[in-house]
């Protein structure tokens, strides 16, 4: 299944590894911050509503 990458295997695999890691990190941080901010806003709005 794995293609024959020959002498450039290190270059190709490290390119894919580092890129996918960075993209996954960007998505994870964005989702985490989105959830945290939504929760914080809900809490403040509730506090304001209840006086």
């Amino acid at each position: 299944m794995m293609p024959e990458l020959g002498k450039y295997a290190g270059a190709v695999l490290s390119s894919y590894g580092v890129s996918l890691l960075l993209l996954a990190g960007l998505v994870a941080v964005s989702v985490w911050r989105s959830r945290r901010t939504a929760r914080a806003l809900r809490e403040v709005e509730e506090r304001v509503r209840n006086g």
Partner: protein
């Protein structure tokens, strides 16, 4: 037909973004996974570059997004400066980290690809250098937003920085044509069939580009909604302190 300016309303923008996000996320994953699997497993080696040609499926889309993210930020910054719509300023802020990551991916994959092909990780070539400066502009832009407490002042100053940085965004695209020197080749994609990358690489590459664009749109929508909520939280907390 609804006017685009309706989305300057944070509530309307958030509601629409939340409706679109799941669809965009699924489309992005499908396009990216299909394009990368197709390119990595089912395309042949290039007769000159060997298997390193497979790096094209990450390098070209990320470089394209690095430049176009800045141009999107420029459009959003101009809208802020002219029409004072907060959502557009927040969208520019939300896009910057995405553009910075795209620039890092383009720089790293370029260096990894360049080493076996050019015999060096880095050269002070016009395109590489303007890309590095573009990355520094991204860092400066993100830092400036964080350094200024007042949101409107931060939006004003970062918009001006964005206009200045656009010169380097355009240079990173056209540096090869302007100076016609350096190691980096011209554009991989061209309407001229002679200059365009071979069909066998072209179709999975198009799919990867579509995946990167969809991922970018999904991330910017998600992050803009986050910025809108963070801004509202700050406003409510300030009102609470005043009471």
């Amino acid at each position: 037909m609804a006017s685009i300016w309706e989305y300057a309303n944070p509530k309307k923008f958030t509601a629409t973004a939340e409706r679109l996000l799941p669809v965009l996320a699924v489309l992005a994953v499908v396009a990216l996974a299909t394009g990368l699997i197709w390119g990595f497993f089912f395309t042949p080696d290039d007769y000159r570059q060997g298997s390193t040609v497979k790096i094209i499926y990450l390098h070209v889309p990320s470089a394209l997004m690095a430049i176009n993210t800045w141009l999107m930020m420029l459009a959003a910054s101009l809208i802020w400066l002219i029409r004072r719509h907060h959502v557009s300023a927040l969208a520019a802020r939300a896009a910057a980290p995405v553009g910075a990551v795209m620039t890092v991916i383009a720089l790293l994959t370029g260096a990894i690809w360049g080493q076996p092909m050019w015999g060096t990780w880095w050269a002070w070539d016009p395109r590489l250098t303007s890309f590095l400066i573009l990355f520094l502009f991204y860092l400066g832009y993100i830092a400036l937003w964080s350094a200024i407490e007042n949101d409107d002042t931060a939006a004003d100053l970062t918009s001006v920085l964005c206009i200045v940085g656009s010169v380097f965004a355009l240079l990173s695209r056209y540096a090869v044509n302007f100076w016609n020197q350096g190691l980096h080749q011209g554009a991989s994609l061209s309407l001229d069939k002679e200059k365009n990358v071979a069909d066998v690489f072209y179709h999975p590459l198009l799919l990867c580009i579509a995946g990167f664009v969809l991922l970018f749109v999904a991330l910017v929508l998600l992050r803009t909604v986050t910025e809108i909520r963070a801004r509202r939280t700050r406003a409510l907390l300030a009102r609470e302190r005043m009471a």
